[in-house]
């Protein structure tokens, strides 16, 4: 479970890792398209935990305009964000 392993993962690997993380933190099961913050779901304050988790586990830095709740609404949107930030980083660097 080290960062380099996850950094080499594609969309599927990120989705699996995120669902495992969510299930360990919430003791509930989650699908990749479930709105995490809809009624009965997680508190919006939990979103910041997701930000910190993505940064630590998937080697990305989430700043500025990417800090929007919509980017963290489902497991799929979070995996999309990680892949996009990695691509942007590779292009920029």
């Amino acid at each position: 479970m080290t960062a380099p392993t996850h950094e080499s993962q594609g969309h599927r690997g990120i989705v699996t890792e995120l669902i495992t993380f969510l299930e360990s933190r919430t003791r509930a099961s989650w699908g990749e398209d479930v709105d995490l913050f809809a009624t009965g779901g997680l508190s919006s304050m939990f979103a910041m935990e997701l930000v910190v988790h993505l940064e630590r586990t998937h080697g990305v830095s989430i700043r500025g305009g990417d800090l929007r709740l919509d980017n963290f609404r489902t497991v799929r949107t979070m995996a999309d964000l990680v892949l996009r930030l990695r691509t942007d980083g590779a292009t920029d660097g």
């Binding site: 933190r25 919006s44 304050m45 979103a47 910041m48 935990e49 930000v51 910190v52 500025g64 800090l67 929007r68 709740l69 963290f72």
Partner: protein, 258 residues
């Protein structure tokens, strides 16, 4: 913006904490577009207040400490400087006996977390000057805060209503009627509260809540405000709520910073 604290460790942690809170605010859409962050300096003495236009006191909720600090700060500020106390329970006019220009003192109760809660409770003391209220309003406009001005009594409106209610919620848990989780679920699910009373207690800080309840109990004589045993036990055990990682609930490191 200058942050003053007697504790150097607290000041060292403040930058990381403020950076984290700024990111949470972005995430929640609470930051206006195109506004650059302000500059933060820190100090361990009150001498920078001589250059301030507004000074906000937000120390421990104890009358003797606040009175001494407001006296020291009030003698160092320029005339016309607005002196704000963030007291949650102590009447502003009682504190106004200590700074040399009592008309410059006003109460402003920012709610936790202040970067997300836009409405503040403003307390006009008997000696608060209209120009002090106007200058405070200008500051709140810059901070994009809405305000409601209320009269000066122990606990004002928000603490007078909320703190005894939280104390009762703790008693309900203490008496075994329901778990903390269930009390909060009922208050959120049935009564439409945004956060349950026990999660709110953890957010306030159980030690701060006890301090505030003591002030209310001493000044109103209302037995509902006497801090209940379970609350006192948690504080004695060091379970202070979100900031210590555990109160009625447990918190991750990320939540402790928020």
């Amino acid at each position: 913006m200058t942050l003053v604290d007697v504790d150097e460790v607290a000041l060292e942690g403040a930058r990381a904490r403020i950076d984290h809170q700024t990111r949470v605010a972005h995430l929640m859409g609470a930051v206006p577009e195109g506004v650059a962050p302000g500059r933060l300096s820190t100090a361990t003495t009150v001498s920078p207040v001589a250059e301030a236009t507004v000074v906000i006191e937000a120390i421990t909720e104890r009358f003797d400490l606040k009175a001494a600090l407001l006296n020291e700060v009030g003698t160092r500020t320029k005339p016309g400087t607005v002196l704000v106390t963030n007291t949650s329970s102590i009447p502003v006019d009682d504190l106004a006996a200590y700074p040399p220009r009592p008309e410059e003192l006003v109460g402003t109760h920012f709610m936790n977390p202040p970067y997300l809660i836009r409405t503040v409770e403003v307390v006009r003391g008997a000696r608060t000057a209209p120009r002090t209220l106007n200058a405070l309003q200008d500051l709140l406009d810059v901070l994009r805060r809405a305000s409601v001005v209320v009269a000066d009594t122990p606990g004002f409106v928000t603490s007078r209503l909320l703190h005894p209610m939280i104390n009762d919620a703790v008693r309900v848990v203490q008496e075994g009627t329901a778990s903390a989780e269930d009390v909060d679920s009922l208050m959120v699910g049935c009564l439409g509260h945004r956060t349950g009373p026990l999660r709110t207690a953890d957010l306030i800080g159980l030690d701060n809540l006890v301090d505030s309840l003591r002030v209310l109990h001493e000044r109103t004589g209302d037995e509902r405000c006497r801090p209940c045993d379970l609350l006192l036990e948690k504080v004695a055990a060091g379970d202070l709520g979100r900031k210590s990682g555990r109160g009625f609930f447990t918190y991750e490191r990320t939540e402790q910073l928020s």
